[in-house]
Protein backbone atom coordinates (compact mmCIF):
# COMPACT_ATOMS: atom_id res chain seq x y z
CA UNK A 1 0.00 0.00 0.00
CA UNK A 2 2.81 2.31 0.96
CA UNK A 3 4.59 1.41 -2.26
CA UNK A 4 1.49 2.00 -4.39
CA UNK A 5 0.94 5.31 -2.66
CA UNK A 6 4.56 6.19 -3.37
CA UNK A 7 4.18 5.38 -7.06
CA UNK A 8 1.01 7.44 -7.33
CA UNK A 9 2.70 10.39 -5.65
CA UNK A 10 5.75 9.96 -7.84
CA UNK A 11 3.59 10.09 -10.97
CA UNK A 12 1.75 13.18 -9.78
CA UNK A 13 4.99 15.12 -10.02
CA UNK A 14 5.11 16.37 -13.64
CA UNK A 15 8.89 16.74 -13.41
CA UNK A 16 9.17 12.99 -12.84
CA UNK A 17 6.71 12.12 -15.63
CA UNK A 18 8.86 14.02 -18.09
CA UNK A 19 12.00 12.55 -16.55
CA UNK A 20 10.53 9.09 -17.07
CA UNK A 21 9.75 9.92 -20.71
CA UNK A 22 13.33 11.06 -21.24
CA UNK A 23 14.62 7.92 -19.51
CA UNK A 24 12.57 5.61 -21.74
CA UNK A 25 13.35 7.64 -24.86
CA UNK A 26 17.08 7.65 -24.22
CA UNK A 27 17.06 3.91 -23.58
CA UNK A 28 15.07 3.24 -26.77
CA UNK A 29 17.68 5.29 -28.66
CA UNK A 30 20.35 3.04 -27.05
CA UNK A 31 22.29 5.83 -25.39
CA UNK A 32 25.12 5.09 -22.96
CA UNK A 33 24.41 4.81 -19.24
CA UNK A 34 25.99 8.19 -18.49
CA UNK A 35 23.92 9.85 -21.23
CA UNK A 36 20.74 8.25 -19.91
CA UNK A 37 21.45 9.42 -16.35
CA UNK A 38 22.45 12.98 -17.27
CA UNK A 39 19.62 13.27 -19.79
CA UNK A 40 17.02 12.17 -17.26
CA UNK A 41 18.36 14.44 -14.53
CA UNK A 42 18.56 17.42 -16.90
CA UNK A 43 14.93 16.89 -17.88
CA UNK A 44 13.82 16.95 -14.24
CA UNK A 45 15.99 19.97 -13.48
CA UNK A 46 14.78 21.73 -16.62
CA UNK A 47 11.19 21.28 -15.55
CA UNK A 48 11.86 22.63 -12.06
CA UNK A 49 13.66 25.68 -13.55
CA UNK A 50 10.70 26.16 -15.89
CA UNK A 51 8.19 26.41 -13.03
CA UNK A 52 10.56 28.64 -11.03
CA UNK A 53 10.66 31.03 -14.00
CA UNK A 54 6.86 31.13 -14.01
CA UNK A 55 6.92 32.22 -10.36
CA UNK A 56 9.16 35.17 -11.20
CA UNK A 57 6.94 36.21 -14.12
CA UNK A 58 3.71 35.99 -12.15
CA UNK A 59 5.18 38.00 -9.27
CA UNK A 60 6.38 40.73 -11.61
CA UNK A 61 2.97 40.91 -13.30
CA UNK A 62 0.88 41.23 -10.13
CA UNK A 63 1.96 44.86 -9.41
CA UNK A 64 1.67 45.68 -13.10
CA UNK A 65 -1.91 44.44 -13.30
CA UNK A 66 -2.80 46.52 -10.24
CA UNK A 67 -1.09 49.59 -11.71
CA UNK A 68 -2.75 49.15 -15.10
CA UNK A 69 -6.21 48.90 -13.57
CA UNK A 70 -5.54 51.87 -11.26
CA UNK A 71 -4.30 53.98 -14.17
CA UNK A 72 -6.82 53.16 -16.90
CA UNK A 73 -9.68 51.32 -15.12
CA UNK A 74 -9.13 48.47 -17.56
CA UNK A 75 -7.72 44.96 -17.32
CA UNK A 76 -4.48 44.52 -19.23
CA UNK A 77 -3.01 41.19 -20.31
CA UNK A 78 0.17 39.96 -21.95
CA UNK A 79 -0.39 37.00 -24.27
CA UNK A 80 2.27 34.37 -23.58
CA UNK A 81 1.46 30.66 -23.44
CA UNK A 82 4.61 29.22 -21.89
CA UNK A 83 4.49 31.40 -18.78
CA UNK A 84 0.79 30.82 -18.38
CA UNK A 85 1.07 27.05 -18.64
CA UNK A 86 4.09 27.01 -16.34
CA UNK A 87 2.10 28.94 -13.75
CA UNK A 88 -0.61 26.25 -13.51
CA UNK A 89 1.78 23.32 -13.22
CA UNK A 90 1.34 22.97 -9.46
CA UNK A 91 -2.30 21.98 -9.89
CA UNK A 92 -2.41 20.74 -13.50
CA UNK A 93 1.13 19.47 -14.05
CA UNK A 94 0.38 15.76 -14.18
CA UNK A 95 -2.46 16.18 -16.65
CA UNK A 96 -0.36 18.52 -18.80
CA UNK A 97 2.67 16.24 -18.97
CA UNK A 98 0.50 13.17 -19.62
CA UNK A 99 -1.40 14.91 -22.43
CA UNK A 100 1.88 15.96 -24.03
CA UNK A 101 3.19 12.40 -24.09
CA UNK A 102 -0.08 10.70 -25.12
CA UNK A 103 -0.81 13.28 -27.84
CA UNK A 104 2.58 12.48 -29.35
CA UNK A 105 1.63 8.79 -29.48
CA UNK A 106 -1.70 9.65 -31.13
CA UNK A 107 0.13 11.86 -33.63
CA UNK A 108 2.47 8.98 -34.50
CA UNK A 109 -0.49 6.61 -34.87
CA UNK A 110 -2.38 9.01 -37.18
CA UNK A 111 0.74 9.63 -39.27
CA UNK A 112 1.25 5.89 -39.55
CA UNK A 113 -2.29 4.93 -40.66
CA UNK A 114 -3.48 7.98 -42.63
CA UNK A 115 -1.92 9.73 -45.61
CA UNK A 116 -1.11 12.76 -43.47
CA UNK A 117 2.48 11.98 -42.52
CA UNK A 118 3.06 15.01 -40.31
CA UNK A 119 4.97 14.55 -37.07
CA UNK A 120 4.71 17.62 -34.85
CA UNK A 121 8.15 18.22 -33.34
CA UNK A 122 7.98 21.69 -31.81
CA UNK A 123 8.32 20.66 -28.17
CA UNK A 124 7.42 23.86 -26.33
CA UNK A 125 4.32 24.16 -28.50
CA UNK A 126 3.31 20.57 -27.69
CA UNK A 127 3.70 21.40 -24.03
CA UNK A 128 1.80 24.70 -24.14
CA UNK A 129 -1.08 23.12 -26.07
CA UNK A 130 -1.22 20.28 -23.53
CA UNK A 131 -1.35 22.89 -20.75
CA UNK A 132 -4.11 24.76 -22.60
CA UNK A 133 -6.13 21.54 -22.82
CA UNK A 134 -5.57 20.85 -19.11
CA UNK A 135 -6.81 24.33 -18.18
CA UNK A 136 -9.85 24.30 -20.49
CA UNK A 137 -10.91 20.82 -19.38
CA UNK A 138 -10.39 21.73 -15.73
CA UNK A 139 -12.67 24.75 -16.19
CA UNK A 140 -15.21 22.37 -17.75
CA UNK A 141 -14.92 20.24 -14.58
CA UNK A 142 -13.23 17.37 -16.41
CA UNK A 143 -10.18 16.01 -14.59
CA UNK A 144 -8.01 12.91 -14.13
CA UNK A 145 -7.85 10.22 -16.81
CA UNK A 146 -10.85 11.66 -18.66
CA UNK A 147 -9.02 14.96 -19.07
CA UNK A 148 -5.89 13.14 -20.23
CA UNK A 149 -7.89 11.07 -22.75
CA UNK A 150 -9.92 13.95 -24.20
CA UNK A 151 -6.98 16.38 -24.16
CA UNK A 152 -4.63 13.90 -25.83
CA UNK A 153 -7.08 13.04 -28.61
CA UNK A 154 -7.79 16.71 -29.34
CA UNK A 155 -4.09 17.63 -29.30
CA UNK A 156 -3.03 14.53 -31.27
CA UNK A 157 -5.57 15.32 -34.01
CA UNK A 158 -4.57 19.01 -33.97
CA UNK A 159 -0.92 18.01 -34.46
CA UNK A 160 -1.86 16.50 -37.83
CA UNK A 161 -4.81 18.73 -38.78
CA UNK A 162 -3.15 22.15 -38.45
CA UNK A 163 0.00 21.24 -40.42
CA UNK A 164 -2.29 19.75 -43.11
CA UNK A 165 -4.34 22.97 -43.28
CA UNK A 166 -1.30 25.18 -43.79
CA UNK A 167 0.60 22.92 -46.16
CA UNK A 168 -0.55 24.68 -49.34
CA UNK A 169 0.80 27.96 -47.94
CA UNK A 170 4.04 26.25 -46.95
CA UNK A 171 4.46 25.08 -50.55
CA UNK A 172 3.96 28.66 -51.76
CA UNK A 173 6.68 29.87 -49.40
CA UNK A 174 9.06 27.09 -50.36
CA UNK A 175 8.18 27.30 -54.06
CA UNK A 176 7.35 23.65 -54.30
CA UNK A 177 3.93 23.98 -55.91
CA UNK A 178 3.36 23.82 -59.66
CA UNK A 179 1.62 27.15 -60.12
CA UNK A 180 4.57 28.94 -58.65
CA UNK A 181 7.24 27.16 -60.66
CA UNK A 182 7.48 29.79 -63.38
CA UNK A 183 7.86 32.70 -61.04
CA UNK A 184 10.82 31.19 -59.22
CA UNK A 185 13.28 33.33 -61.13
CA UNK A 186 11.45 36.63 -60.55
CA UNK A 187 10.49 35.93 -56.96
CA UNK A 188 12.63 36.14 -53.88
CA UNK A 189 14.90 33.28 -54.78
CA UNK A 190 17.86 35.21 -56.26
CA UNK A 191 18.74 36.41 -52.79
CA UNK A 192 19.18 32.94 -51.40
CA UNK A 193 21.21 30.75 -53.71
CA UNK A 194 20.69 27.48 -51.93
CA UNK A 195 16.95 27.89 -52.04
CA UNK A 196 17.08 28.21 -55.80
CA UNK A 197 18.76 24.83 -56.21
CA UNK A 198 16.47 23.18 -53.75
CA UNK A 199 13.28 24.52 -55.17
CA UNK A 200 14.10 23.98 -58.82
CA UNK A 201 14.80 20.33 -58.18
CA UNK A 202 11.61 20.03 -56.22
CA UNK A 203 9.41 21.69 -58.84
CA UNK A 204 10.68 19.22 -61.43
CA UNK A 205 9.51 16.27 -59.43
CA UNK A 206 6.18 17.96 -58.75
CA UNK A 207 5.38 17.89 -62.44
CA UNK A 208 5.66 14.12 -62.57
CA UNK A 209 4.88 12.85 -59.12
CA UNK A 210 2.22 13.72 -56.62
CA UNK A 211 2.66 16.94 -54.73
CA UNK A 212 2.45 15.39 -51.31
CA UNK A 213 5.54 13.30 -51.94
CA UNK A 214 7.76 16.33 -52.45
CA UNK A 215 6.94 17.87 -49.07
CA UNK A 216 10.02 17.81 -46.92
CA UNK A 217 8.77 19.93 -44.09
CA UNK A 218 5.49 21.15 -42.58
CA UNK A 219 4.41 23.97 -40.28
CA UNK A 220 4.40 22.76 -36.66
CA UNK A 221 3.45 25.87 -34.77
CA UNK A 222 0.16 26.89 -33.16
CA UNK A 223 -0.18 30.02 -35.22
CA UNK A 224 -0.08 28.22 -38.56
CA UNK A 225 -3.74 28.62 -39.52
CA UNK A 226 -3.92 32.33 -38.72
CA UNK A 227 -0.55 33.03 -40.38
CA UNK A 228 -1.56 31.14 -43.54
CA UNK A 229 -4.95 32.88 -43.63
CA UNK A 230 -3.62 36.43 -43.38
CA UNK A 231 -0.69 35.67 -45.66
CA UNK A 232 -3.28 34.55 -48.22
CA UNK A 233 -5.45 37.66 -47.68
CA UNK A 234 -2.35 39.89 -47.91
CA UNK A 235 -1.54 38.15 -51.18
CA UNK A 236 -4.92 39.19 -52.62
CA UNK A 237 -3.92 42.85 -52.22
CA UNK A 238 -0.35 42.50 -53.34
CA UNK A 239 1.93 42.05 -56.28
CA UNK A 240 4.29 39.13 -56.09
CA UNK A 241 6.86 40.62 -58.45
CA UNK A 242 7.68 43.37 -55.93
CA UNK A 243 9.39 41.30 -53.29
CA UNK A 244 10.27 42.47 -49.81
CA UNK A 245 13.73 41.06 -50.43
CA UNK A 246 14.56 43.93 -52.80
CA UNK A 247 13.91 46.41 -49.99
CA UNK A 248 16.65 47.93 -47.90
CA UNK A 249 16.31 47.48 -44.17
CA UNK A 250 18.78 49.36 -41.93
CA UNK A 251 21.40 47.11 -40.34
CA UNK A 252 20.72 48.81 -37.01
CA UNK A 253 17.44 46.84 -36.83
CA UNK A 254 19.53 43.73 -36.16
CA UNK A 255 18.89 44.01 -32.41
CA UNK A 256 15.28 43.03 -33.14
CA UNK A 257 16.47 39.43 -33.43
CA UNK A 258 17.51 39.29 -29.78
CA UNK A 259 14.29 38.47 -27.97
CA UNK A 260 15.62 39.45 -24.52
CA UNK A 261 16.46 42.98 -25.68
CA UNK A 262 13.27 43.45 -27.65
CA UNK A 263 11.14 42.26 -24.75
CA UNK A 264 13.02 44.41 -22.22
CA UNK A 265 12.38 47.52 -24.30
CA UNK A 266 8.67 46.82 -24.75
CA UNK A 267 8.13 45.88 -21.10
CA UNK A 268 10.03 48.96 -19.90
CA UNK A 269 7.81 51.19 -22.05
CA UNK A 270 4.64 49.45 -20.80
CA UNK A 271 5.56 49.62 -17.09
CA UNK A 272 6.94 53.18 -17.13
CA UNK A 273 4.07 54.66 -19.19
CA UNK A 274 1.54 52.96 -16.91
CA UNK A 275 3.33 54.31 -13.81
CA UNK A 276 2.96 57.81 -15.20
CA UNK A 277 -0.84 57.49 -15.12
CA UNK A 278 -1.18 56.00 -11.63
CA UNK A 279 -2.02 58.38 -8.75
CA UNK A 280 1.00 58.98 -6.49
CA UNK A 281 -0.79 57.63 -3.41
CA UNK A 282 -1.80 54.39 -5.17
CA UNK A 283 1.66 54.00 -6.61
CA UNK A 284 3.32 54.40 -3.21
CA UNK A 285 1.16 51.55 -1.90
CA UNK A 286 2.03 49.29 -4.83
CA UNK A 287 5.76 50.03 -4.77
CA UNK A 288 5.96 49.84 -0.98
CA UNK A 289 7.46 53.32 -0.78
CA UNK A 290 10.16 52.77 -3.39
CA UNK A 291 10.57 55.41 -6.11
CA UNK A 292 7.72 54.53 -8.54
CA UNK A 293 9.85 54.67 -11.69
CA UNK A 294 12.72 52.72 -10.17
CA UNK A 295 10.19 50.15 -9.01
CA UNK A 296 8.67 49.90 -12.50
CA UNK A 297 12.02 49.53 -14.21
CA UNK A 298 13.04 46.72 -11.86
CA UNK A 299 9.68 44.95 -12.25
CA UNK A 300 9.75 45.26 -16.06
CA UNK A 301 13.24 43.77 -16.23
CA UNK A 302 12.31 41.12 -13.67
CA UNK A 303 9.48 40.04 -15.97
CA UNK A 304 11.94 39.62 -18.84
CA UNK A 305 14.41 37.84 -16.56
CA UNK A 306 11.62 35.44 -15.57
CA UNK A 307 10.94 34.69 -19.24
CA UNK A 308 14.64 33.94 -19.75
CA UNK A 309 14.72 31.60 -16.75
CA UNK A 310 11.57 29.87 -17.97
CA UNK A 311 12.96 29.43 -21.48
CA UNK A 312 16.19 27.99 -20.11
CA UNK A 313 14.14 25.40 -18.25
CA UNK A 314 12.07 24.55 -21.34
CA UNK A 315 15.29 24.29 -23.35
CA UNK A 316 16.74 21.80 -20.88
CA UNK A 317 13.81 19.42 -20.85
CA UNK A 318 13.14 19.67 -24.58
CA UNK A 319 16.77 18.91 -25.41
CA UNK A 320 16.21 15.39 -24.09
CA UNK A 321 12.57 14.75 -24.99
CA UNK A 322 12.36 16.05 -28.57
CA UNK A 323 15.24 13.89 -29.91
CA UNK A 324 13.55 10.89 -28.27
CA UNK A 325 10.23 11.77 -29.95
CA UNK A 326 12.01 12.28 -33.27
CA UNK A 327 13.89 8.99 -33.01
CA UNK A 328 10.76 7.04 -32.11
CA UNK A 329 8.60 8.61 -34.85
CA UNK A 330 11.25 7.92 -37.51
CA UNK A 331 11.24 4.25 -36.55
CA UNK A 332 7.45 3.92 -36.67
CA UNK A 333 6.42 6.24 -39.53
CA UNK A 334 8.25 5.77 -42.84
CA UNK A 335 8.20 8.96 -44.91
CA UNK A 336 7.34 11.11 -41.90
CA UNK A 337 7.22 14.84 -42.64
CA UNK A 338 8.49 16.78 -39.63
CA UNK A 339 6.27 19.73 -38.68
CA UNK A 340 8.76 22.31 -37.43
CA UNK A 341 8.92 25.59 -35.54
CA UNK A 342 8.18 28.82 -37.38
CA UNK A 343 11.74 30.13 -38.00
CA UNK A 344 12.41 27.41 -40.59
CA UNK A 345 10.56 29.66 -43.04
CA UNK A 346 12.40 32.88 -42.20
CA UNK A 347 15.33 32.01 -44.47
CA UNK A 348 13.08 32.18 -47.53
CA UNK A 349 12.55 35.93 -47.05
CA UNK A 350 14.60 37.40 -44.17
CA UNK A 351 13.63 41.00 -44.86
CA UNK A 352 9.95 40.04 -44.91
CA UNK A 353 10.43 38.82 -41.32
CA UNK A 354 11.34 42.32 -40.10
CA UNK A 355 8.67 43.98 -42.27
CA UNK A 356 6.02 41.51 -41.11
CA UNK A 357 6.91 41.98 -37.45
CA UNK A 358 6.73 45.79 -37.67
CA UNK A 359 3.42 45.62 -39.59
CA UNK A 360 1.94 43.20 -37.07
CA UNK A 361 3.09 45.32 -34.12
CA UNK A 362 1.47 48.32 -35.79
CA UNK A 363 -1.78 46.36 -36.34
CA UNK A 364 -1.96 45.26 -32.72
CA UNK A 365 -1.29 48.81 -31.49
CA UNK A 366 -4.18 50.07 -33.66
CA UNK A 367 -6.58 48.06 -31.48
CA UNK A 368 -5.40 49.47 -28.13
CA UNK A 369 -7.25 52.83 -28.34
CA UNK A 370 -10.49 50.86 -28.67
CA UNK A 371 -9.83 48.81 -25.51
CA UNK A 372 -12.65 50.53 -23.64
CA UNK A 373 -15.14 48.68 -25.83
CA UNK A 374 -13.39 45.32 -25.60
CA UNK A 375 -13.52 42.72 -22.81
CA UNK A 376 -9.81 43.20 -22.09
CA UNK A 377 -6.80 45.26 -23.17
CA UNK A 378 -4.30 43.13 -25.05
CA UNK A 379 -0.87 44.63 -24.43
CA UNK A 380 1.94 44.27 -27.00
CA UNK A 381 3.10 40.68 -26.51
CA UNK A 382 6.55 40.54 -28.00
CA UNK A 383 7.12 36.81 -28.47
CA UNK A 384 3.88 36.27 -30.37
CA UNK A 385 4.17 39.47 -32.38
CA UNK A 386 7.74 38.76 -33.41
CA UNK A 387 7.52 35.09 -34.30
CA UNK A 388 4.06 35.16 -35.86
CA UNK A 389 4.42 38.63 -37.39
CA UNK A 390 7.69 37.56 -39.01
CA UNK A 391 6.01 34.51 -40.49
CA UNK A 392 3.04 36.51 -41.82
CA UNK A 393 5.61 38.70 -43.56
CA UNK A 394 7.17 35.66 -45.23
CA UNK A 395 3.82 34.08 -46.13
CA UNK A 396 2.35 37.39 -47.34
CA UNK A 397 5.45 38.06 -49.43
CA UNK A 398 5.28 34.61 -51.03
CA UNK A 399 1.76 35.36 -52.27
CA UNK A 400 1.80 39.13 -52.72
CA UNK A 401 5.26 40.64 -52.38
CA UNK A 402 5.93 43.60 -50.10
CA UNK A 403 2.34 44.81 -50.15
CA UNK A 404 1.20 41.31 -49.27
CA UNK A 405 3.61 41.21 -46.34
CA UNK A 406 2.61 44.62 -44.99
CA UNK A 407 -1.16 44.29 -45.43
CA UNK A 408 -1.11 40.69 -44.19
CA UNK A 409 0.91 41.76 -41.15
CA UNK A 410 -1.33 44.68 -40.20
CA UNK A 411 -4.49 42.58 -40.58
CA UNK A 412 -2.89 39.76 -38.59
CA UNK A 413 -2.01 42.17 -35.78
CA UNK A 414 -5.56 43.54 -35.63
CA UNK A 415 -7.35 40.18 -35.86
CA UNK A 416 -5.02 38.35 -33.47
CA UNK A 417 -5.51 41.04 -30.84
CA UNK A 418 -9.28 41.03 -31.33
CA UNK A 419 -9.36 37.21 -31.18
CA UNK A 420 -7.66 37.25 -27.80
CA UNK A 421 -9.84 40.09 -26.51
CA UNK A 422 -13.10 38.39 -27.49
CA UNK A 423 -12.08 34.89 -26.39
CA UNK A 424 -10.82 36.18 -23.03
CA UNK A 425 -14.17 35.98 -21.15
CA UNK A 426 -14.55 32.31 -22.14
CA UNK A 427 -11.48 31.17 -20.21
CA UNK A 428 -11.24 32.76 -16.79
CA UNK A 429 -7.90 32.14 -15.08
CA UNK A 430 -8.63 33.85 -11.77
CA UNK A 431 -9.07 30.47 -10.06
CA UNK A 432 -5.34 29.82 -10.61
CA UNK A 433 -4.37 33.21 -9.12
CA UNK A 434 -3.01 34.39 -12.45
CA UNK A 435 -3.50 37.99 -13.46
CA UNK A 436 -2.12 39.80 -16.45
CA UNK A 437 -1.39 36.69 -18.51
CA UNK A 438 -3.45 34.97 -21.19
CA UNK A 439 -3.16 32.57 -24.14
CA UNK A 440 -1.35 33.63 -27.30
CA UNK A 441 -1.48 30.83 -29.87
CA UNK A 442 -4.31 31.32 -32.38
CA UNK A 443 -4.71 27.61 -33.22
CA UNK A 444 -4.92 26.66 -29.56
CA UNK A 445 -7.34 29.52 -28.85
CA UNK A 446 -9.59 28.42 -31.74
CA UNK A 447 -9.65 24.85 -30.39
CA UNK A 448 -10.21 26.05 -26.81
CA UNK A 449 -13.09 28.33 -27.86
CA UNK A 450 -14.75 25.51 -29.81
CA UNK A 451 -14.41 23.24 -26.75
CA UNK A 452 -15.94 25.86 -24.46
CA UNK A 453 -18.84 26.47 -26.85
CA UNK A 454 -19.50 22.75 -27.35
CA UNK A 455 -19.28 22.34 -23.57
CA UNK A 456 -21.86 25.07 -23.07
CA UNK A 457 -24.26 23.18 -25.36
CA UNK A 458 -24.03 20.26 -22.96
CA UNK A 459 -24.08 22.46 -19.89
CA UNK A 460 -20.43 22.02 -18.78
Amino acid sequence: MLLLNGIVQFLSEPAFILGLVALVGLMVLRKSVSEVVTGTLKTVLGFLIFTAGAGIIVNALIPFSTMFTAAFHLTGIVAEDNSLVAAVQISLGTVTASIMVCSFLINVFLARVTRYKYIFLTGHMMFSFAGTMAIVLDLMKISGWKAILIGSVIEGVSMVLFPALSQSSVRKVMNTDEANADTVAVGFVPNTDTVAFGSVAKTDTVAFGSVAKTDTVAFGFWGSSWISLWGWVGGKFGNKSQSTEDMKVPKSLGFLKDMAILMSIVMLVLYVVTTFFVKAADMAKISGGQNPYLFSVIQALTFTAGILVLLQGVRMFLAEIVPAFKGISEKIVPGAIPALDVPVFYGYAPIAVTIGFLATLFGSLLVIPFSRWLPVTVLPSVIGLFFMGGAVGVFGNARGGRRGAIIGGILFGITWTLMIAFAYPLINLSKYNISGLWFASPDAIIVAVVMRLVGKLFGV
Binding site: T192, K257, G347
Partner: protein, 96 residues
Protein backbone atom coordinates in the same frame (compact mmCIF):
# COMPACT_ATOMS: atom_id res chain seq x y z
CA UNK B 1 34.42 18.80 -30.15
CA UNK B 2 31.49 20.92 -29.10
CA UNK B 3 28.88 22.71 -31.19
CA UNK B 4 26.34 25.29 -30.07
CA UNK B 5 23.33 25.77 -32.35
CA UNK B 6 21.48 29.05 -32.08
CA UNK B 7 18.02 30.40 -32.92
CA UNK B 8 15.80 33.23 -31.70
CA UNK B 9 14.36 31.46 -28.65
CA UNK B 10 16.68 28.47 -28.45
CA UNK B 11 13.76 26.03 -28.40
CA UNK B 12 12.67 24.74 -31.79
CA UNK B 13 14.91 25.52 -34.72
CA UNK B 14 18.21 25.31 -32.86
CA UNK B 15 17.30 21.89 -31.48
CA UNK B 16 16.44 20.63 -34.98
CA UNK B 17 19.74 22.04 -36.25
CA UNK B 18 21.60 20.35 -33.39
CA UNK B 19 20.07 16.95 -34.18
CA UNK B 20 20.93 17.41 -37.87
CA UNK B 21 24.51 18.46 -37.10
CA UNK B 22 25.00 15.52 -34.76
CA UNK B 23 23.63 13.00 -37.24
CA UNK B 24 25.90 14.41 -40.01
CA UNK B 25 28.84 14.32 -37.59
CA UNK B 26 28.15 10.70 -36.71
CA UNK B 27 27.91 9.80 -40.42
CA UNK B 28 31.38 11.27 -40.99
CA UNK B 29 32.87 9.78 -37.85
CA UNK B 30 33.20 12.92 -35.75
CA UNK B 31 32.35 12.91 -32.07
CA UNK B 32 30.33 16.07 -31.50
CA UNK B 33 28.60 17.01 -28.28
CA UNK B 34 26.33 20.00 -28.39
CA UNK B 35 23.73 22.30 -27.04
CA UNK B 36 20.91 24.39 -28.50
CA UNK B 37 20.51 27.91 -27.21
CA UNK B 38 19.07 31.37 -27.90
CA UNK B 39 20.90 34.32 -29.38
CA UNK B 40 21.20 36.21 -26.10
CA UNK B 41 22.86 33.36 -24.20
CA UNK B 42 25.01 32.19 -27.12
CA UNK B 43 27.36 35.13 -26.78
CA UNK B 44 30.22 34.33 -24.49
CA UNK B 45 29.63 30.59 -24.55
CA UNK B 46 32.56 28.28 -25.18
CA UNK B 47 32.50 25.80 -28.02
CA UNK B 48 34.43 24.81 -31.15
CA UNK B 49 31.85 26.04 -33.61
CA UNK B 50 28.44 27.68 -33.78
CA UNK B 51 25.74 26.77 -36.31
CA UNK B 52 22.78 29.06 -36.96
CA UNK B 53 20.60 30.41 -39.75
CA UNK B 54 22.37 33.15 -41.72
CA UNK B 55 20.33 35.96 -40.16
CA UNK B 56 21.08 34.79 -36.63
CA UNK B 57 24.73 34.02 -37.53
CA UNK B 58 25.22 37.62 -38.65
CA UNK B 59 24.41 38.69 -35.08
CA UNK B 60 26.91 36.30 -33.53
CA UNK B 61 30.52 37.17 -32.92
CA UNK B 62 33.21 34.98 -31.43
CA UNK B 63 36.96 35.23 -31.21
CA UNK B 64 37.58 31.58 -30.49
CA UNK B 65 34.90 29.63 -32.31
CA UNK B 66 33.97 29.34 -35.96
CA UNK B 67 30.50 30.51 -36.95
CA UNK B 68 28.64 28.61 -39.66
CA UNK B 69 25.63 30.38 -41.18
CA UNK B 70 23.04 28.25 -42.97
CA UNK B 71 20.86 29.99 -45.56
CA UNK B 72 18.19 27.31 -45.75
CA UNK B 73 18.10 25.46 -42.46
CA UNK B 74 16.03 22.56 -43.75
CA UNK B 75 18.48 21.88 -46.60
CA UNK B 76 20.46 18.93 -45.27
CA UNK B 77 22.95 19.12 -48.14
CA UNK B 78 23.79 22.72 -47.37
CA UNK B 79 24.36 21.93 -43.70
CA UNK B 80 26.50 18.92 -44.58
CA UNK B 81 28.57 20.79 -47.19
CA UNK B 82 29.24 23.61 -44.76
CA UNK B 83 29.95 21.80 -41.52
CA UNK B 84 32.01 18.82 -42.68
CA UNK B 85 35.04 20.97 -43.67
CA UNK B 86 34.70 22.89 -40.39
CA UNK B 87 34.66 19.71 -38.32
CA UNK B 88 37.58 18.31 -40.35
CA UNK B 89 39.61 21.47 -39.72
CA UNK B 90 38.91 21.34 -35.98
CA UNK B 91 39.82 17.65 -35.83
CA UNK B 92 43.04 18.26 -37.83
CA UNK B 93 44.04 21.10 -35.57
CA UNK B 94 43.68 18.86 -32.56
CA UNK B 95 45.39 15.95 -34.26
CA UNK B 96 42.43 13.65 -33.72
Amino acid sequence: MKVITVCGMGLGTSLMLLMEVQSIAAKHGFDVSGEATDLGSALGRKCDFFVASSEIASQLASKNALIVGIKNIIDKNEIENKIVPVMQAIADKRGE
